[in-house]
């Protein structure tokens, strides 16, 4: 097992900055395309968190599905719905609405942080030394939870068919 040279504290700080700044740019960038790219960077930050939490399978899934598929889909949609040049797609929000949203979001985040701070001592501070091997996930998925997996597959095909039918152009 190769030990990482970078201590986990530094990588945590870097990943936090990447994820949160990426998410803010995704919502605030003037051009929607830049927003989508910032969203992809934020998703890569989340994948880094998964790697830090000893979940390499989730990190791989996050990159393959979110960065690989969802963001590319979003980019294609942005190109399809793009207006002619000169016409602004995302109108600037008015000040009252903006401050209302800021208050709502700030209060929500503060409330959750307060709950976490209150729970303080009862939360575990030290992760157990032995993390779960990736090879445990396959048997759990197919033997322990087979029905949700089948439902997920049906749901996936239904959703993709639905998306195809919706997006079809009637001639």
């Amino acid at each position: 097992m190769v030990s990482l040279v970078i201590p986990s504290d530094i990588s945590f700080v870097v990943l936090t900055a990447v994820t949160i700044i990426g998410a803010i740019i995704a919502l605030q960038a003037k051009e929607l395309i830049y927003g989508a790219i910032a969203l992809a960077i934020s998703f890569i930050g989340i994948a880094g968190f998964f790697a830090l939490l000893d979940a390499p399978y989730l990190a791989m899934l996050q990159i393959a599905i979110y960065v690989g598929a969802v963001v590319v889909l979003i980019l294609f949609t942005i190109m399809l719905v793009r207006r002619e040049r000169g016409e602004e797609m995302d109108k600037r929000t008015d000040a009252a609405e903006g401050s209302m949203g800021l208050w709502l979001a700030g209060l929500l985040a503060l409330a959750i942080s307060g709950v976490v701070a209150l729970a303080g001592t009862s939360l575990p501070t030290q992760a157990p030394a032995a993390s779960l091997p990736v090879s445990d996930l396959g048997p759990a998925l197919t033997l322990q939870y087979p029905v949700p997996l089948i439902i997920l597959a049906l749901l996936l095909s239904a959703a993709l068919l639905g998306a195809l039918v919706l997006a079809k152009v009637e001639r």
């Binding site: 949160i20 919502l27 598929a69 995302d90 949203g101 575990p124 501070t125 997920l152 749901l155 639905g162």
Partner: protein, 102 residues
Amino acid sequence: MVTLASYLIVSAALLGIGVYGLSVKRNAIRILFAVEVIVNAANLNFAAFTRYMNPPQVSGQIIVFYSIAAAAMEAAVGLALILVAFRLNSTIDVRKLNKLKG
């Protein structure tokens, strides 16, 4: 020192950013971005809690697996809906898509 609480605070910050986008933005694609940010905050919580569980549990990672798959479906259907709305109204400003308003 990185503890479980650090991950929960990051997740709360992401949720706040997502809620801000959800309540303020007008562009439908931008609102979809906000939804994806919120889903990722929830996934981060699941992964963090399952890592700090003693003895180790597999169920947290499994539910993140399902959640990622469900979010991918939601993005596909949502983008198809946005395409249809754009084709019918030639705008995706959600404040202008108010034909159902009585």
